[in-house]
Subunit: 343 residues, 2 copies
DNA sequence: GTTAGCACTCTTTGTGTGCGAGTGCTAACT
DNA sequence: AGTTAGCACTCGCACACAAAGAGTGCTAAC
């Protein structure tokens, strides 16, 4: 990475911040004015030419001002930007609002996504906690009517899943007891990854005449375990795509990408850094080549459980957004961990 | 409503269907050809001029073909259109896919929305069953950990709601029993509209020293009753807005409308007909002035419980969509009713 | 290394022209 | 009276061209 003189850094910072704020290319005169006319616009033009050569700036066309290139944003984020600090009131507002959902992880992450979309005017994406290594803590069967019951599965990492099961036969106390015995023997304390459909099949074989009655319940348990392992992706603020004129060209492709599901899920589960900023083509998927993604992991206890973040144009207010997302992920992690520790 | 000669009806039908299919204004020659050149284009032009005068057709500009006006679509839907009949395989596919969610009404309607969005390439909106007159059938408390429990409320109209509650004190058998007693005495068999926060407050007063322990649970019950009364709106296929070029102008406003929530909810709860088609300015909200909304109610037992339908451009394949939505609403109703009757 | 001055480039906006599609009207026909 | 052929007309679209404005790049001087 080539070294930049202090003045060039200043110029890059001014251009980046002005462009982020206004969306207009920045000309040499404007910079000159912002620097108090300490140096002339010609000098700045020389520096800008150098910055273009080095790849940090781009010009939409010859007679326009300059805008940051992808590399320019990257340099800004890595070296020039001073992180904004969230006000105590902002922090409190977020925390209090989320606190009420701390018992329901899935809902908590959905709401966190909504908040983030609201705060950032971007598309917010969040994943519910998932953990292929989670251990089943308990399974409850709640009879709802003659033929239906709810099954609730509680696992480590604060994960909670439930489903409603229909049975062809009446669900009575006997059946509940058989179910609890099975749970006690085969499920509780086991890793969710062990409870696959084949496993259920071998288990079922040993049940004798209860097979037909129990199998819907056991299949439901297997489905719930599957749900624990799988990431559930929440999308919020899709309408914000249209807020950003620079995305409107890609809007269609982006929307398609968001709804295709799998690539988005991959992206959320594969990023390595605790907080990952991918600008433009730094993104793995080419649908995002004009977008920036900022994602943070959140941890329950000492395990990374999921991610939350945003997708927006490359022209983003990084200085505000990065700390906001970092804070939000922190709150989510601590709320979930807290709930867990209280058990 | 002025009478139309048979030929004018035919011309209107041809224009409407061609325009729906192609999106291009239809000229006199094309119609002439489609009618097997039985009459000349000049005659058709005369008729078209009349239809414009009567308000059924519009012309984007003098030298373009004609397109149906709002009134034209209305006339087409009311008098000219022949409803498409869903194939048995289509019917079966929809039914089988939805059947698996019949125990969870909220999920069922969310999935039904997804299916509808997929089938129609429009924005699909659905409401979960809600009923201010619903009667509480039972309430269950499922202890999850020392400090958390899930409360499940089952009401008439097949409504099922649940929430997780945190308590500062340990949730033991005693507390569960007190809770069940309260449910038995004050909640079960009552109308959900009776269980308001003030009601809880008066109830709490009679609890003596259990007040602080019980109040989070009772508040949760009140919240769940509130949720039973309130319509929960599911939005699906928002990306489809961008599929329709004629909406792209309004896309921003439409997205805003969809996310504002309340007006959308009003629209869904207020339409009178079992199946309601509102074309353009027939819609109550001016954000929808270039859109068509098609909504159908679905009934659980003999009560209207919710709605499902679509929002799209006025240029819609009415002949396919109306029967599809009608069928879907029927399936939802019968699935929910069935589940209910089996109890 | 910095600056003033100026020609140059490129976008934006407005205007004019030709082309094509489809109409509206008139006069003739059945 | 209803239908038809013929033709002038209108309008949108595509394209070209010119003028204005913004900002640059370069050169020569400081």
């Amino acid at each position: 990475m080539a070294q930049l003189t202090e003045r060039k850094q200043l110029i890059l910072a001014i251009i980046t911040e002005r462009y982020i704020a206004t969306g207009e290319p920045v000309g040499s005169k404007a910079i000159c004015a912002q620097m108090g006319n300490a140096i002339s616009s010609a000098t700045i033009r020389n520096d800008m030419a150098d910055l273009v050569e080095m790849g940090y700036l781009a010009q939409p066309h010859t007679s326009a001002g300059r805008i940051p290139s992808q590399a320019g944003y990257r340099y800004y984020v890595d070296n020039l930007m001073t992180n904004y600090e969230l006000g105590i009131d902002e922090q409190a507002r977020i925390k209090i609002w989320l606190q009420s959902f701390s018992g329901e992880p899935d809902k908590l992450l959905e709401k966190a996504g909504s908040i983030l979309a609201e705060l950032t005017n971007c598309v917010a994406v969040s994943t519910s906690p998932s953990d292929a290594e989670a251990i089943i803590k308990r399974i409850e069967l709640v009879p709802l009517s003659k033929n239906t019951a709810m099954i609730v599965l509680l696992a480590t990492s604060g994960i909670l899943k439930s489903a409603v099961v229909r049975s062809d036969t009446e669900i009575n106390v006997d059946i509940a007891e058989v179910f609890y015995n099975i749970c006690q023997t085969y499920f509780n304390g086991r890793n969710v990854s062990d409870i696959s459909i084949p496993f259920i099949q071998t288990l079922v074989a040993s049940l004798g005449d209860k097979v037909f009655i129990m199998s819907p319940f056991l299949c439901a348990v297997a489905d719930l375990c599957e749900a624990v392992k799988n990431t559930e992706v929440h999308l919020k603020g899709q309408n914000n795509i249209l807020n950003h004129p620079e995305l409107s060209e890609d809007a269609f492709g982006l929307m398609g990408f968001l709804h295709r599901g799998t690539p988005l899920e991959n992206m959320l589960t594969s990023h390595k850094n605790p907080l990952n900023v991918a600008i433009g083509t730094e993104n793995t998927y080419r649908e995002l080549k004009n977008s920036t993604t900022i994602f943070s992991k959140y941890s329950v206890g000492d395990r990374d459980s999921g991610s939350i973040g945003i997708i927006g144009p490359t022209r983003l207010d990084y200085a505000h957004l990065i700390p906001t997302i970092r804070y939000l992920a922190g709150v989510i992690g601590s709320l979930l961990t807290e709930t867990l520790d209280n058990e």
